[in-house]
C-alpha cells in the first residue's frame, strides 16, 4: 500500500512539474483561425492573421493583425508583439495566398506550414484574386468572422464541386508527385461578400493559369469521381431560341486509359455522368425517351467541347492539373518513364475525351 502511494505521488508530482513550463491557459491564447500571405511592392511578405475572440464579454468577435516580414515565422514573432495573447497555430483552418505572390511560387511558405508539427495537414490552401490581407481583415456586415465565413464557403463549394477541396496535404502530395500538378480554389472580395473566383492551376508551386468558376464542374468530371454537383449547360440555339439545361444531383465517374503508338501516348479520358434534369428550356420533349437520348447527346457534346478546351488551356500553360501524367507513367516501364521528360511531352500529347451522359429523371413533371 505504502509503495502504491509512493509511486502514485511520484507520478503525480512528476506530471504536475513537467507540465509547468508548457502551461496553456485558454483565455491567454489567441488561436489563429486564418492567415494570409501577400507580396508587398518592395518584395517583402505581408502577413495577416485573424483570431476569433473566445471571450463572450468582448464587443468584437475577432482580432486581426498585419505585419511585413521576410518569412511567416518571423511574422508570427512580430505579430505576437502586437497581441496580448500567446499566438497558437493549432486551430489554423485557412491559408490564403494572394495571386501575385502565388505567381512567384509558394513552396517556401508551404514548407514552413508542413514542417510545423502544430499545423494540421487539413488546413485549406486558397488563392485570393486581389489582396488576401484586405479580404481577410475586411468587415463583412453579415459575416463578423471572415475566416469562418471563408471556411464554410469553401467547405460547401467543395461539396458541390464548385471548387476542388485542397488541403495542405493535397497540395503537398500533388506538388511532390510526378505526373500531376497542384490546384487551389480562388476566391475574391466582392465588397459585402466573398465569392468563388475559379480554380488556380499551378506548375510545381507557381500559379500560372485559372479556370472560370463555371468550368469547375467540367474540371471535376475530368479529375475524378464525385457524387454531388449541378451544372448549367448552354446548348446553343435552335430556331432562334437559346437552349439551356440544368443537370442536378450528379454522379460522375472517370476512367483514363493510355495507348502507345510508336512510343507516342494517346490518352483516352472517359467520363460517365449521371444526373437529373431540373430545368430545361429547349425544344426537345424530354419526357420522351428519344428526346432524352437527344438531350443526353447534346449535353455530352457540350461537356466534351468544354473539356477539350480546358485540356488545351492546360497543355498550353504546361500544367498537368488532371494528373494525366500519372496514368501515362503507370502504363510505361519505370525506366521508360524516368527517361521521358513528361512536361516537355505533355503539351503535344493527344487527349481524347469521351463523355457519356445518362439522365436518371426529369423531375416531377411528366411533360
Amino acid at each position: 500500500m505504502v509503495k502504491c502511494i509512493l509511486i502514485a505521488s511520484v507520478l503525480g508530482t512528476s506530471i504536475i512539474l513537467s507540465a509547468c513550463s508548457d502551461r496553456r491557459i485558454i483565455e491567454e491564447i489567441g488561436f489563429i483561425q486564418s492567415a494570409s500571405y501577400d507580396r508587398s511592392a518592395d518584395g517583402q511578405l505581408i502577413i495577416a492573421i485573424s483570431i476569433p475572440k473566445a471571450d463572450s464579454g468582448s464587443k468584437v468577435s475577432r482580432e486581426e493583425f498585419l505585419t511585413t516580414a521576410r518569412s511567416a515565422k518571423e511574422a508570427r514573432i512580430t505579430l505576437s508583439r502586437q497581441s496580448q495573447l500567446t499566438l497558437a497555430s493549432g486551430q489554423l483552418r485557412n491559408v490564403l495566398f494572394g495571386c501575385s505572390l502565388a505567381r512567384l511560387g509558394i513552396w517556401e511558405h508551404i514548407d514552413s506550414l508542413v514542417r510545423d508539427t502544430v499545423i494540421s495537414p487539413q488546413v485549406r490552401i486558397t488563392l485570393v484574386d486581389g489582396d488576401a490581407a484586405k479580404l481577410l481583415t475586411r468587415q463583412y456586415k453579415q459575416h463578423p468572422i471572415p475566416g469562418r465565413y471563408i471556411e464554410q464557403l469553401l467547405e460547401k463549394s467543395s461539396r458541390n464541386q464548385t471548387v476542388p477541396k485542397v488541403t495542405l496535404h493535397d497540395f503537398v502530395k500533388e506538388y511532390y508527385e510526378e505526373g500531376i500538378d497542384p490546384v487551389a480554389p480562388i476566391i475574391r472580395d466582392k465588397g459585402d461578400h466573398v465569392e468563388i473566383g475559379g480554380i488556380g492551376l499551378f506548375r510545381d508551386d507557381r500559379y500560372v493559369a485559372s479556370l472560370h468558376p463555371e468550368e469547375a464542374l467540367i474540371f471535376a468530371f475530368l479529375r475524378g469521381k464525385f457524387n454531388q454537383g449541378e451544372i448549367i449547360m448552354d446548348l446553343g440555339s435552335r430556331n432562334g431560341i437559346k437552349e439551356t439545361a440544368m443537370l442536378s444531383a450528379i454522379n460522375s465517374k472517370r476512367r483514363i486509359t493510355v495507348n502507345f503508338d510508336q512510343g507516342v501516348p494517346t490518352v483516352y479520358c472517359h467520363a460517365r455522368i449521371q444526373g437529373s434534369i431540373m430545368e430545361y428550356n429547349g425544344t426537345l420533349k424530354i419526357s420522351d425517351i428519344h428526346g432524352r437520348h437527344q438531350l443526353e447527346t447534346q449535353i455530352a457534346q457540350n461537356v466534351t467541347e468544354r473539356a477539350n478546351k480546358m485540356i488545351r488551356l492546360m497543355q498550353n500553360n504546361g500544367v498537368d492539373s488532371l494528373g494525366i501524367g500519372r496514368f501515362v507513367r503507370n502504363s510505361m516501364s519505370y525506366s521508360g518513364w524516368k527517361s521521358l521528360d513528361w512536361m516537355a511531352k505533355y503539351p503535344e500529347v493527344k487527349v481524347i475525351v469521351n463523355v457519356s451522359v445518362f439522365i436518371k429523371d426529369v423531375g416531377k413533371l411528366k411533360i
Binding site: 512528476s14 512539474l17 511532390y176
Partner: protein, 362 residues
C-alpha cells in the same frame, strides 16, 4: 509451482514487444529504401523473422524446454559466459532506454515541447520498473490488457480508404529506392522483439505451444504493418512519403471526425502502452541475464539498478538525430544477437548431444 505462459498471452506479448516507436517511421523508411510499393517488403521481412523463429524453435525442441542459460552454462564455464552476459545486459537495457527516449522526443514534437524530456523519461522508467518487478507472467497479462487498449485504433485505417488513389501506388515494384545496407537493419528494428522469446523457454510448458505463439505474435505484427504501410503508400505520394520523418503521425493528424479533429496527440498517447511493453520486456530480459551473474542479489534490486543506469545513460543523446543514431547501432547489434544467440545455442546443444551419445556408447 511457477505459473506458465498461455499460448495467447505469449503471442500477444511477442506482438506488443515488437510494436514500438519504429512503426511511426516505418512507411517512410520503406519508401526511402525500396521506393515504389515498398509496403510489399513487409512480407519479405516477415519471412526473415520466420527463419529466425525456426532457429528459436530448434533451441526449444532440442533443448527440451531448458532455459538458454542452463544450456549455455552446462557446456561453457560461467566465467567465459560473463562477457556475453554483460554485453546482453548492456544491449537490452540500452534498447529499452533509447526507445523510451525516442518516444518522448517524438511526443515533444506535438506536445510539451519545452518541458525537460527527462521528466517524462523518469515517469516512463518508473512505470517500466513497476512492470518488470512483477515478473514475466504478469507482464504478459499486462500486455494483453494493453493490446486491447490499442488494437481498436486499427479501425481508423478504414477512414483513409475513401482517400486512397490506386493510381498513386503505381504498377512498379521496388523502383527508385536507395537500397542502402544500413536502412535494411533500420527497417528490421520494427520486427525485433520476438528474439526475446528465447528467454520465455523457461517460463513455458507444452501447453504454451511457444513456437506457435511466437509465429502468431509475429504474424499479427506483420499484418498490422502491412495495413499501415499499404494505407500510407496510397495516401501519400512516394516522394512525399520519403520526405516525412514520422508518416504515421501525419496519417493520424489527417483524421477528421465530424465531432473532433487533431486527435493525433491523443492517439499517440495510446502508443505509450506498446512502448512501455517494449521497454519493459527489454529491461526484464536484461534483468534475467544479470540474475545469472548475481544469483544471490534480489531481483527487484537488479531491476532497479538496470532502470537507474539506463535512465542515467539516456541523458546523453539529446536530439532526435542522436537518438536515431544510437537506435540504428543498437538495432544492428540486436539483429546479430537475434540470429547469433540461437545459432550459438544450437551449436552448444549439438556438442552436448554428441558428448551424451559418446557417453552412452562408452
Amino acid at each position: 509451482m511457477k505459473e506458465k505462459l498461455s499460448c495467447f498471452h505469449a503471442a500477444i506479448l511477442v506482438h506488443m514487444t515488437q510494436t514500438g516507436i519504429v512503426i511511426f517511421a516505418l512507411p517512410g523508411l520503406l519508401a526511402v529504401q525500396f521506393g515504389t510499393n515498398g509496403w510489399l517488403a513487409v512480407p519479405l521481412y516477415f519471412i526473415v523473422t520466420l527463419i529466425n523463429v525456426s532457429l528459436i524453435a530448434i533451441v526449444y525442441r532440442v533443448g527440451e524446454g531448458k532455459s538458454i542459460f542452463d544450456i549455455l552454462e552446462r557446456s561453457i564455464p560461467k566465467v567465459m559466459l560473463y562477457p556475453l552476459y554483460v554485453f546482453l545486459i548492456g544491449l537490452w537495457s540500452l534498447i529499452g532506454c533509447i526507445a523510451a527516449k525516442k518516444y518522448i522526443l517524438l511526443f515533444q514534437l506535438i506536445a510539451f515541447p519545452t518541458t525537460n524530456p527527462m521528466a517524462f523519461k523518469f515517469v516512463i522508467d518508473l512505470l517500466a520498473y513497476a512492470l518488470i518487478v512483477k515478473g514475466l507472467y504478469n507482464i504478459a497479462k499486462t500486455a494483453t490488457v494493453f493490446f486491447w487498449l490499442i488494437i481498436w485504433m486499427g479501425l481508423f485505417l478504414f477512414y483513409f480508404f475513401g482517400d486512397l488513389e490506386w493510381v498513386t501506388f503505381t504498377p512498379f515494384v521496388f523502383q527508385g529506392g536507395h537500397h542502402d545496407v544500413k536502412t535494411y537493419f533500420d527497417i528490421y528494428a520494427a520486427f525485433l522483439g520476438y528474439e526475446l522469446s528465447l528467454l520465455f523457454i523457461g517460463y513455458s510448458d507444452r501447453k504454451t505451444r511457444l513456437v506457435k505463439a511466437i509465429i502468431w505474435g509475429n504474424g499479427i505484427t506483420a499484418i498490422n504493418y502491412i495495413l499501415i504501410c499499404l494505407v500510407s503508400f496510397g495516401f501519400f505520394s512516394l516522394p512525399q512519403l520519403k520526405s516525412l520523418f514520422v508518416p504515421l503521425l501525419d496519417l493520424l493528424a489527417s483524421i477528421k471526425l465530424p465531432f473532433i479533429e487533431r486527435i493525433e496527440n491523443l492517439l499517440y498517447g495510446f502508443f505509450l502502452f506498446s512502448t512501455i511493453l517494449t521497454i519493459g520486456m527489454y529491461s526484464w530480459s536484461a534483468k534475467e541475464v544479470s540474475q545469472r551473474i548475481f544469483p544471490t542479489v534480489r531481483s527487484r534490486f537488479l531491476a532497479f539498478v538496470i532502470v537507474l543506469l539506463s535512465f542515467i545513460v539516456s541523458f546523453i543523446p539529446k536530439s532526435l538525430y542522436e537518438v536515431d543514431k544510437w537506435l540504428r547501432l543498437l538495432a544492428y547489434l540486436e539483429f546479430w544477437v537475434a540470429f547469433g544467440l540461437p545459432l550459438l545455442l544450437i551449436s552448444v546443444l549439438i556438442v552436448q548431444r554428441g558428448s551424451k551419445g559418446e557417453l552412452s556408447h562408452g
